[in-house]
Every structure is written in structure tokens, then in C-alpha cells.
């Protein structure tokens, strides 16, 4: 028995798995993709954003996911809600200005029907914004979330990002309540004016 344990040292295997995991998850978008998979979240409708480009591309490339663009963010929320009730988990990707279109569907569908709506919101409008309208609409986001007493977190650091995403998904599903994960430019680099 002892010899067998030595030949396939569980310690070494664990370390190796951890290393591979670290390699896979060293980017914020890698963390999102792997954490969605771990929680069996297969349906990912989105309205695109420049910052989300790599994440969207990688989710499209992975046959685990069913992912597609929608014309509006609330449409994606409707799709996710239907899928949840049908037994399929989902998450929506969007930008700050897209979130600003959601107050009605959050207040009339996701929250009262207790749908664990998981939203990733790429944050524009702060830390180097070049479009005044984006900075204004960004200021409406947290007051809307707070006025509905919705769970939300702003992710700024890669080292704590997996913890935030993993725990937030767990909480959304077990408490049947929506959550917004706001991806700060501190995490993603954001979008900058380059002309």
C-alpha cells in the first residue's frame, strides 16, 4: 500500500493540477470561462463589448457553451430566465450602458420570480473614459443595483477574482437571486482613447 502511494504521489498530482489550473486561469477572462464551466453554466447570450472580445471569442470556441449575441440586453435576460426554468444554467455578458436598459426586467422578472440571473458587466465610464455619455450612464449603475437591493461586486484584482466569481455564482443559485459582477478597468485594462 505504502509503495503504491509513493509511486502515484497524490501531493505531486495535486500540485501539477494546480499549476495547470493556474496557467489556464491567469487571465481574468480565463477565470470567467473556467468558473462558468465548473458551475455547469452553459448558456451565454451577450451584447458585445470591446473589453469582452477575448472572453466572447474563447466561449464561442468552446463546444461546452451555447453562446450567441442578442439585439438587446433584456432579451438575453429573458432567454436566461426561460433556460433556468427549463433546467439550463446561464449568464449574460454586457457593457455598462447595456445594464442601464435593464431596470424594468430586473424589477419585473429576475427579482420577483427569483431567477438566479448572473451578469458580467464590463465597466465603462470611469478610470479614463473618453465619452461623457458613458461616464454619466456608469453613475446610474450602482444606484440602480442598490435601489433593488441586488447583490453586486466590483472586481478590481486578479488574485481575488476567482473567489468573487465562484462564490457569487454559488450564492446566486442557492439563494435564487440575481448578481451583477462589475469588471473594473483595474481588472481588465478597460477601453482607452488611442487616437
Amino acid at each position: 500500500m505504502a509503495a503504491a502511494e509513493e509511486s502515484t504521489s497524490p501531493q505531486t498530482l495535486q500540485e501539477k493540477a494546480l499549476q495547470e489550473k493556474t496557467l489556464q486561469e491567469r487571465t481574468w477572462h480565463g477565470v470567467v470561462l473556467q468558473t462558468l464551466k465548473r458551475h455547469d453554466i452553459r448558456l451565454v447570450p451577450y451584447v458585445p463589448d470591446r473589453v469582452l472580445t477575448t472572453l466572447i471569442k474563447n466561449i464561442h470556441a468552446d463546444p461546452f457553451f451555447t453562446t450567441f449575441p442578442t439585439a438587446r440586453e433584456e432579451e438575453a435576460v429573458g432567454i436566461i430566465s426561460g433556460a433556468w426554468m427549463g433546467g439550463m444554467r446561464g449568464a449574460v455578458l454586457m457593457q455598462t450602458s447595456g445594464f442601464a436598459t435593464l431596470a424594468n426586467v430586473l424589477a419585473s422578472l429576475a427579482i420577483p420570480y427569483q431567477i438566479p440571473l448572473i451578469m458580467f458587466v464590463s465597466e465603462r465610464g470611469t478610470l479614463g473614459e473618453f465619452n461623457y455619455g458613458q461616464s454619466l450612464v456608469c453613475r446610474t449603475m450602482r444606484p440602480v443595483l442598490d435601489s433593488l437591493a441586488m447583490e453586486h461586486h466590483t472586481a478590481t484584482r486578479l488574485d481575488e477574482f476567482e473567489f468573487i466569481v465562484d462564490r457569487s455564482i454559488r450564492q446566486a443559485i442557492t439563494t435564487q437571486a440575481p448578481v451583477a459582477l462589475i469588471l473594473s478597468p483595474l481588472l481588465t485594462g478597460g477601453k482607452v482613447f488611442e487616437k
Binding site: L43, T66, F68, P69, T70, A71, R72, E74, E75, A76, V77, G78, I79, I80, S81, G82, A83, W84, M85, G86, G87, M88, G90, N104, V105, A107, S108, L109, P112, Y113, Q114, I115
Partner: protein, 204 residues
């Protein structure tokens, strides 16, 4: 009064929402899901006889088809019907091309078109006098879209959709009568009953 009925190109009978909904529900033998949109479409679905596979949308105007798309993607073996008003659909026309792209063959969408916002006082919609919902749907890529000429034609189109190889959209012109019933406005129970009906949950 009802401008939509004045368009001569539509050689279709003006029918009644509750009657059509009852005809649909009477056909359901295989635990098909039915999503009722905001207001009258879900009121008449409720009045036609509650089923555990019915979902009643109490807000979020325009999202009956997207919710139905989600159910259809999650349960490809189950037939999913969605009932939507013309005014509601106008709020979310983009969803038609999303449905066309995903192309779930188990989805049947029914548009109850009276050309008015009946529930708010029967004001005409901006589309009533000029737009054709079926032409819009076809233009969005939903080639299996048609107006029902009368009740028998509606039933025939519903039956046809059950074996279709792409999503179906059926347009019906209806009168401006209000919904017959009033859905019990209890979102959590509605959602939980629906999930039980779809076999996703077990009762507590």
C-alpha cells in the same frame, strides 16, 4: 377603430384571443410548455385552464418570445408555445432574428394582433396602420411564418408546427376584447409551478 383590420392585403378573419387560446390549450396532450406574455395573453391563458406547464409573465413587456427561446434551448425535446401581443412584440422585434439564428424547431410563436394596446385603453400601436408582423418575421429570417386565415387555419398551422424543421410563427388578427381571466399575481409560485411542470424541480 381597429386599423389593422382595414389593411386589405390581409385576407384574414378577425378572431378572438380567448377562443384561440382555448383551442390551442385543448390540443396540448404532451406537457407542452406555454409562455403567456404580459397582460391579456397570459390572462386568457390562465382563463383557458391552468396547467403546470404554463408560465405567466407579469411584467417585462416584450420578453415572452425570449423566455420561450430559453425554455426551448434548455429542453429541445419539449414543444414550447409562446403567446405575444403585437404591441409587446414591437418592443422587442430584435428577438425574431435571434430566434431565427438559433432556429429551435420545437418553438411555436403566436402573435395576437389587434393593432391596439387594448389593456391601456385601446390606443393604436405605431405599427397598426402600416406594418405587417408576418412580413417582419419573414424579413427577420423566420421563413415559417404565416397569418391564420380563420380558426380552422390556426389549428392547422399549430398542428403543422409540431413537426416543423424550423421555428414557427403564426399571426392571428384578433378583436379588441379584453382578456377573460385574471392571473393570480404570485411570481414565485408561478415560477415554481412551471419548473415542477417542466420536470426541473421536485415539490417541497
Amino acid at each position: 377603430m381597429n386599423k389593422a383590420t382595414d389593411i386589405p392585403a390581409r385576407n384574414t378573419k378577425v378572431m378572438n384571443r380567448f377562443d384561440l387560446t382555448s383551442r390551442l390549450v385543448a390540443k396540448l396532450k404532451n406537457e407542452e410548455a406555454v409562455i403567456g406574455g404580459i397582460g391579456n395573453t397570459n390572462f386568457d391563458l390562465w382563463a383557458a385552464g391552468h396547467r403546470p406547464q404554463n408560465f405567466y409573465m407579469l411584467g417585462s413587456m416584450g420578453l415572452a418570445f425570449p423566455i420561450a427561446l430559453g425554455v426551448a434551448l434548455a429542453q429541445p425535446e419539449r414543444r414550447v408555445f409562446a403567446l405575444e401581443g403585437d404591441g409587446s412584440l414591437l418592443m422587442q422585434l430584435g428577438c425574431l432574428s435571434t430566434v431565427a439564428t438559433q432556429a429551435p424547431k420545437n418553438l411555436t410563436m403566436i402573435v395576437m394582433d389587434n393593432g391596439v394596446y387594448q389593456i391601456t385603453g385601446a390606443q393604436p400601436t405605431p405599427a397598426a396602420a402600416v406594418a405587417d408582423i408576418i412580413a417582419i418575421a419573414i424579413g427577420c429570417g423566420l421563413s415559417n411564418s404565416a397569418w391564420a386565415a380563420d380558426e380552422e387555419d390556426f389549428e392547422r398551422l399549430v398542428d403543422q408546427s409540431l413537426s416543423a424543421t424550423e421555428p414557427t410563427l403564426i399571426g392571428v388578427r384578433i378583436d379588441d376584447k379584453p382578456g377573460v381571466g385574471a392571473t393570480r399575481r404570485d411570481p414565485v409560485q408561478i415560477r415554481e409551478r412551471f419548473m415542477l411542470g417542466l420536470g426541473v424541480r421536485e415539490a417541497l
